[in-house]
């Protein structure tokens, strides 16, 4: 799956609208708005976001990364995902000739 840094905020917003706001598009919020303060994401919504990020971007969210600096706005989340993808690419680099899906197919 090809992900460009530009797509990330849009994908996050789409997920939030459909899965956390259940399609309610009337809520206007900026990329900097705090999810918790604006009531966009509640405490369990954060756990759902983790599941989404892991599935959508193929990243793995460590427990200690569950902090507002990484998660509490579209901007923070997008930057966090971009950083994770960057490190993932560096780690994966030696086996770049493999298909990513195949590399993950092992036990």
């Amino acid at each position: 799956m090809q992900v460009t840094a530009l797509d990330i905020p849009a994908q996050i917003r789409t997920y939030i609208t459909h899965n956390l706001l259940f399609g309610d598009e009337s809520l206007i919020y900026s990329d900097e708005d705090s999810f918790l303060e604006r009531g966009i994401v509640d405490s369990l919504g954060v756990i759902e976001l983790v599941t989404f990020l892991e599935a959508q971007f193929g990243i793995s969210v460590a427990d200690h990364e569950l902090i507002p600096e990484n998660f509490d706005s579209v901007k923070n989340l997008a930057e966090y995902v971009a950083r994770k993808l960057e490190t993932a690419t560096l780690v994966e680099a030696p086996r770049s000739s493999f298909d990513l899906g195949e590399a993950y197919a092992g036990p």
Binding site: H18, L21, F22, G23, D24, L27, L36, E37, R38, G39, I40, V41, D42, S43, L44, G45, V46, I47, D63, H64, E65, L66, I67, P68, F71, D72
Partner: protein, 519 residues
């Protein structure tokens, strides 16, 4: 002693001690004593009198803490309302208690504060907190929290309250779906907090972290008790970012950790080895039962700390606690009556039951609250005459059994109330909201077992309108209900089972769900 004496006495004894750590602020007892005096004066000047209700509609914050004690110092009764409550229910609660004042966060989504002044005519004044410079609400009946702090005198007000006066109303869900305000007088709160402090063995050096909302009595009492014993409260908005909470525990050397099963379930999934949690002296659980496996795992993980399994209901604050030394022997028990109180188990005919028999738990003590605000029928059902003239005991509506040593085990509820994330959810309240959708013919809301939530909310819906989608149902619920009441699952059915009196048989649906799971 009055509830606001918790703050006044600690401020006299420990004026320079940091009492509250919240949102980057470190407030001393003196700071808070003076801030509450200023706000109390503003409330009185705007017409709040003895016994008047002061509603506080905010997430956990310094302003919410100041609001609680300012309401009491003004002679009033504080009512903390969950900050995810939506406009209609907020208006209904304000009208139910005829609030004279509302202290609110101006940033709260989905709520039009100006409309409240019109829709809740009892409001004499609104105190707005956290107003951005740009979008200030200007209205003669709104005042600004920061302006009050800048302009008002910090000298204490004369004392007008006695300990038989009400201190707070705590709204809770009842089986009818109408929220009810549990009335606590000062003496109830003073007694209950003292009893809990006694068995938790709190000392002045304790640093308690609270991530539960102050609208929830378990969260509220962390504040009240900590201020009473002169400790320090680290007030967090929620447990949404567990790693941030763990980091805060390290930074502040937290000694007391009050949690609910959902928090513990999340905690036990994490790698805790990278945090220094050695400062924790005790952990408490209530609101819903911890699975015995989690009790034992918590014991192992925090082997240096005391673990308290507890049980209570808002109507008596706390009812039972298991002494920590009993935890490994009886991990499924929630213990014995809290100090200075007694409990027993009764059958339907009012006979006291012995070990091994299941019946309703009845509670006697000064923590039995004063009833439901202006709801005499509901009050008479829950609070019934006790052994002595003029005394009332609380019928909990919860079924318990006792072992041979007198330790109590929760069996189930007599009504259909769901416990999700430790919060009470009345199926009827959720059903009423779903019925508002066009084409909905029948709805039944039930709780289904969930490893994190305790119970997850599931709605069965029969709709004439074939276009109605799960998303529409959920979006509507989200716009009308507090976060914890929004269903997790929606299932459309052609019909729902009914019982002989023609009512929807919710219990039959629950049993079918449980049977599915056990196969």
């Amino acid at each position: 002693m009055l509830v606001h004496d918790f703050l006044i006495n600690s401020a006299a004894r420990l004026p320079d001690k940091v009492a509250l750590v919240c949102d980057g602020h470190r407030m001393t007892y003196r700071d808070l004593d003076l801030m509450t005096n200023r706000l109390a004066r503003a409330l009185v000047e705007h017409g709040v009198g003895r016994g008047d209700r002061v509603a506080i509609f905010m997430p956990n914050s310094v302003e919410a803490v100041v609001g609680i004690f300012a309401a009491l110092k003004a002679g009033g009764v504080f009512v903390v309302i969950n900050h995810t409550t939506k406009q209609d229910k907020l208006t209904a609660i304000l009208n139910n208690c005829r609030a004279a004042a509302l202290i609110a966060d101006a940033q709260i989504r989905d709520v039009h504060l100006s409309a409240l002044l019109h829709d809740a005519p009892s409001l004499k004044v609104g105190v707005l907190c956290n107003q951005g410079a740009a979008a200030r609400i200007t209205h003669p009946r709104f005042i600004d929290f920061d302006a009050v702090q800048a302009q008002y005198d910090a000298a204490p007000l004369p004392r007008v309250t006695i300990d038989l006066d009400l201190a707070c109303l705590i709204y809770t869900s009842g089986s009818t779906g109408e929220p009810k305000g549990v009335m606590s007088d000062h003496s109830n709160v003073v007694f209950a907090s003292e009893s809990i402090i006694t068995y938790v063995q709190n000392v002045e050096d304790d640093v308690v972290i609270n991530m539960l909302p102050l609208s929830f009595d378990y969260g509220l009492y962390q504040l009240l008790m900590t201020f009473r014993f002169g400790g320090r409260l680290v007030l967090e908005r929620s447990f949404a970012y567990p790693a941030a909470i763990l980091r805060r525990i390290e930074e502040e050397r937290v000694t007391g950790f009050p949690g609910v099963p959902t928090i513990y379930a999340l905690l036990l999934q994490m790698d805790l080895s990278r945090y220094d949690l050695s400062s924790i002296r005790y952990l408490t659980n209530t609101a819903a039962a911890l699975p015995p496996s989690h009790v034992l795992e918590l014991r192992r993980t925090f082997h240096w700390a005391r673990l308290y399994s507890m049980y209570g209901l808002t109507e008596t604050k706390r009812t039972l606690y298991l002494p920590p030394e009993e935890v490994e022997r009886r991990p499924g028990s929630v213990g014995i009556a809290i100090p200075g109180t007694e409990v027993w188990i009764e059958d339907e005919q009012g006979n006291r039951l012995g070990p091994g028999e299941a019946g309703e738990l009845v509670v006697r003590g000064r923590h039995v609250m004063r009833g439901y605000w202006e709801a005499p029928e509901a009050t008479a059902q829950r609070f019934r005459p006790g052994p002595l003239p003029g005394e009332r005991v609380c019928y909990t509506g919860d079924l318990f059994r006792m072992d041979a040593d007198g330790f109590l085990y929760f069996v189930g509820r007599k009504d259909d109330i769901i416990k999700s994330r430790g919060e009470k959810v009345a199926p009827k309240e959720v059903e009423n909201v779903i019925y508002e959708l066009p084409g909905v013919v029948a709805v039944a809301v039930v709780g289904v077992p969930d490893p994190i939530l305790g119970q997850a909310i599931k709605a069965f819906v029969v709709a004439k309108n074939a276009d109605l989608t799960e998303m529409q149902v959920l979006a509507h619920c989200r716009s009308r209900l507090e976060d914890f009441m929004v269903p997790r699952y929606v299932e459309f059915r052609d019909e729902l089972p009914v019982n002989t009196s023609g009512k929807i048989a919710r219990r039959e649906l629950t049993q079918a769900l449980n049977a599915d799971r056990s196969t």
